[in-house]
Amino acid sequence: MANFFLDNKDLQYQLSHPLMRKIVELKEKGFEDKDKYDYAPADFEDAMDSYRRVLEIMGGICGDVIAVNAEGVDHEGPKVENDRVIYAPGTQQNIDAIVKAGLMGITLPRKYEGLNFPLVAFVMTNEMVARGDMGFENIWGLQDCAETLNEFASEEIKQEYLTRVSQGETCAMDLTEPDAGSDLQSVMLKAHWDEEKQTWLLNGVKRFITNGDGEISLVLARSEEGTKDARGLSMFVYDKRSGATKVRRIENKMGIKGSPTCELVFTNAPAKLVGDRKMGLIKYVMSLMNAARLGIGAQAVGLSEAAYREALKYAHEREQFGKPIIEFPAVFEMLSNMKAKLQGSRALLYETTRFVEIYKDYTHWSHDRKLEPAERAEMKEYNKLADAFTPLQKLITSEYCNQMAYDAMQILGGSGYMKDYPVERLYRDARITNIYEGTSQLQVVAAIRHVTTGTYAAKLKQYEDEALYPADLESVFKQMVELREDYEACVERVTAGDAEQIDFHARRLVEMAGHIIITHLLLRQAADAEDYRTSAQVYAKIAVAKCKEAKTYIFNSCCGDIDLFKAVINENVENL
C-alpha cells in the first residue's frame, strides 16, 4: 500500500506555496462553477482540499499499480500487430486504473468533463507517475495535447475531442520526421484541402512519435504548398478512428521501454485544422513544447526521487567492513548531494510551474474578457519568467536526474548493475530526459536570451530584495549575493565578445544562474520549514563550487580559445 503523494513531504510542501491562492483564484475564475457542477469547489480551501484528495488517489495508483507494473512493462514492452500498437499488459492496466479513478482530463474545464485542476497539480501527478514508471509518464503526460487544443482550437473541436480525453482517450503529438528532429521547420508531411470531401487530408511519414497510436493526435504538417520554412506549417488534429494511419514500426530503445515510439504513415488521413493556418510551428508547437518541457522536468524529478530512495535504502541496509555503508563519508556525501539536488530540482520545477500557470490562466481569461492594465502587465511579466525558467528547469532537472541515476547505481555497486534492482532501469530511463523535447544544448539556446537580456539577474535581485532566509543562514544568503555579482561579471565579459563567444560560454552562464536561483529557492523554503536547512546549505556548496569553476573557465578563456575547439571540425574519422 504505497502512496507516492502521502509519503512525499517535499512534494506536499510545494502545494502549500503562497502563490497557490492566486493560482486557484485565477483557475476557478471566482469559483463560477460552484453551482453548476457538484464537484466544483466553493472557495480556496475547498479547492485545495480537493487537490489533496485527488492527488492522494493518484499517489495510491502510482505506488500500488504503476510502480508495481514497471518492471514487467520494461521487460515486455509494447508491440505492433496489424499496424497497430498493443501496449504491454501492465501499461494497459495502468491506463485502466487511471480512467476508472476518473483522473483523465485533469486540467481541462468542467464543461468538457475535466477536473479543472491547476497545472501545479498536473505536474505533481506527472512527477508521481514518473517515479513509478518514467515511460508511462509519457502516456499520462500527453494530456498536454488536450491543453493545447483547449488553448487554440475552435469550440467545435474542443467539444468533440476534449470530452473524449476526459473519458480516457490518450493523445500523441506528431512533430518529428526522419529529416526534421530539432529542426522542425523542415517538416514535410503534407496537408491539402480536398474540395470534394470537404476536409484536410494528410500524407507522409512521422518518426519517433511517442504513443503514436494514441486515439487523438496533433499533427504538424505543411499546408502551404511550395513553402520550405516554418511559415508553411499548420497544426491539425487527427482522429485514430479514421483508420488512415499505419504504425510501420516501433523503435527498440535503451530505456522507457513501455512508451511506444512509433513510425507512422499517413495516407489521405482526414484531419481538422487547429487554430489558424501557418501558425502551426510558430505559435502552437512552441506552446506545446513549453508544456512538454515542464512535463520532462516532472519526469526527471520523479525519476530522481525514485533513484534517491533506492540509494538511501540500500546504503542503510548494505553492510561492509562491519557497518552500513551510509556511515562512510564517500557515501553519505553522495547521498546528501543527491538529496540537495532532488529538493533543488523540485523547487525549481514548481517555481517554473507557478510562473507558467499564472501566465496561462491570464491567457485564458483574456479570451473571455479584456484584461485590466495591471493584469496585462502581470501576464507579461509571468510570460517572461515562464519563458526564462522553462528551459532552465528542463536543463537542470534532466541533467540532475542522470547524475542521480548514476550515483544511485554507484551506491548499489555491482548489485545496482544487475537487473535484480530497479536502479538499472532508472539509469536507462533517465538518459532520454536531457535528449527529448529539446536536448540540453537546445535548452541553453532557449535560455541564453534571458542571460543576455537580464531576466535571471533581475529575478535574482528580486529574491535578494525579498531576503527570505533563516537568520542564522545569512552567510549563505550573502554568498549568493556574491555569486550573483560573479555571474553578472561573467555575463559582461562574455557579452563583450561576438555571438560565437556567447554561444561558446552559454551553458556555463545559464547553469550559473540556475545554481544561484536554486539556492535562493531552498533558502526561502528553509525560512519556512526546518526540513530544508540541510539541503539549502549543501546546495549552496555545490553552487559556489560550480559557479567559481565556471567563472575561472570564462575568465581564463580568450577569444582565440574557440579555435582550439574548432580544430575538431577538420578531423575526419577515416584519417584518425
Binding site: D38, Y39, R53, V54, G60, I61, A97, K100, A101, L103
Partner: protein, 294 residues
C-alpha cells in the same frame, strides 16, 4: 425496458488485522483496536464491486451501503460513495453494541425489512471475526435465498426475476440460479473494487451523518448538507428499525467469550492428500522425519 434495481451492500468497518504489529494484542488477549487502523472489510469491497456492476447493468438502479457500528463507521460509507455507491445508512445505537453474529444479523435484517431491496450483497466474511455467518443469517431471517462464495454475477433476466451466479468452491466452480430477492455473499477471489473516483470524491467529501454534523458544529457543513440532499448519510437507531431490544447487542447474543489466548500459527501451508497408498506413505515418512510421530 428492465426495471431498475434497489441494491444494498452490507459492509463492516474492521481493524486491519492483515498487517499486525507487535502491539496488535493487549496483555489481556483482546484486540488493541487503537493500534490497528480501521478499514473497509476487504471482501465487502468485493461485494460493493459486484453491486456496482449490477448497477451498471440496470440503468437507474441504486446502491445503498448498510453498516452497523459506531459513529466513525461513517468513514466506510463515504469511501463506498467515493467508489460509486449512491448513499449509505449507518445503524448506530448503544443498544446494538456487543452483538455476536446472531444479534448483528437480526439488527441488519430489521433495517433491510425497512429498505426492501431486490438484491443484498455482502462480503463472505469479515477479517476480524472470520465467521462468514452474518450474510447467511440475514438471508434466513428474511426468509429469502442465499448464494454464498459468489465470484461473478453471470446474468440477470430482463424481468429481474432470475439471477445466475458463479460460485467459487474448494474443488471448482458452480453456476447457480436464484430468484430475487436474495442475499449474495462475495468471495475475495471476485474482482477488486473499483478505485475512488476523483469527481465522486469531490462531490461526496462533505457527506456526513447527523451525529457527525452535530459533533463538528460547523455552519459551513450544516448549510452544505441542508441544501444538498445527497450529502446526508442516514443514521438509524433501534427505534428507526423497529427492533426488539431483547434480540440486540449483548442481550441478544448467545455467544459468550470465555477465554482468549494467543496462539502461534505454525502450519506454513495446507496440503491436500488423496487416499492413495503412495500419499499416505509419503505423509508417514514426513511425520516420522519431523518427529511428529514415533
Amino acid at each position: 425496458m428492465s426495471k431498475p434495481l434497489k441494491i444494498v451492500v452490507l459492509a463492516k468497518q474492521v481493524p486491519d488485522t492483515r498487517n499486525v504489529g507487535k502491539d496488535a494484542m493487549k496483555a489481556d488477549g483482546t484486540v488493541n483496536r487503537a493500534a490497528l487502523p480501521a478499514i473497509f472489510n476487504p471482501e465487502d469491497l468485493n461485494a460493493l464491486e459486484q453491486a456496482l456492476i449490477l448497477k451498471d447493468m440496470r440503468e437507474g438502479s441504486t446502491v445503498q451501503v448498510l453498516t452497523m457500528g459506531p459513529p466513525r463507521a461513517a468513514d466506510i460509507l463515504r469511501d463506498a460513495m467515493f467508489r460509486g455507491a449512491d448513499g449509505g445508512i449507518l445503524l448506530t445505537d448503544r443498544k446494538f453494541a456487543g452483538a455476536d453474529t446472531l444479534a448483528t444479523s437480526y439488527a441488519l435484517s430489521r433495517a433491510l425489512v425497512k429498505i426492501q431491496p431486490d438484491i443484498i450483497v455482502a462480503g463472505r466474511q469479515a477479517i476480524d471475526g472470520d465467521t462468514a455467518q452474518v450474510g447467511p443469517q440475514v438471508a434466513e431471517k428474511l426468509g429469502i435465498p442465499q448464494v454464498t462464495y459468489a465470484e461473478e454475477i453471470v446474468s440477470l433476466s430482463d424481468d429481474n426475476k432470475e439471477i445466475i451466479i458463479k460460485r467459487r468452491l474448494d474443488h471448482g466452480i458452480e453456476i447457480v440460479s436464484s430468484p430475487l430477492p436474495l442475499v449474495v455473499t462475495v468471495n475475495g477471489s471476485a474482482p477488486e473494487c473499483r478505485p475512488q473516483h476523483a469527481k465522486r470524491v469531490m462531490k461526496y467529501k462533505n457527506a456526513r451523518t447527523p451525529s457527525e454534523l452535530q459533533e463538528a458544529d460547523n455552519d459551513y457543513l450544516n448549510s452544505l448538507c441542508a441544501c444538498k440532499e445527497y450529502l446526508n448519510i442516514q443514521e438509524w437507531s433501534v427505534a428507526d428499525v423497529d427492533a426488539d431490544d431483547n434480540q440486540l447487542g449483548l442481550a441478544g447474543s448467545p455467544t459468550k467469550v470465555k477465554q482468549i489466548e494467543n496462539v502461534v500459527f505454525q502450519a506454513k501451508e495446507a496440503k491436500r492428500l488423496t487416499a492413495a497408498d503412495a500419499d499416505i506413505n509419503e505423509l508417514m515418512v514426513e511425520l516420522i522425519a519431523s518427529h511428529t510421530l514415533g
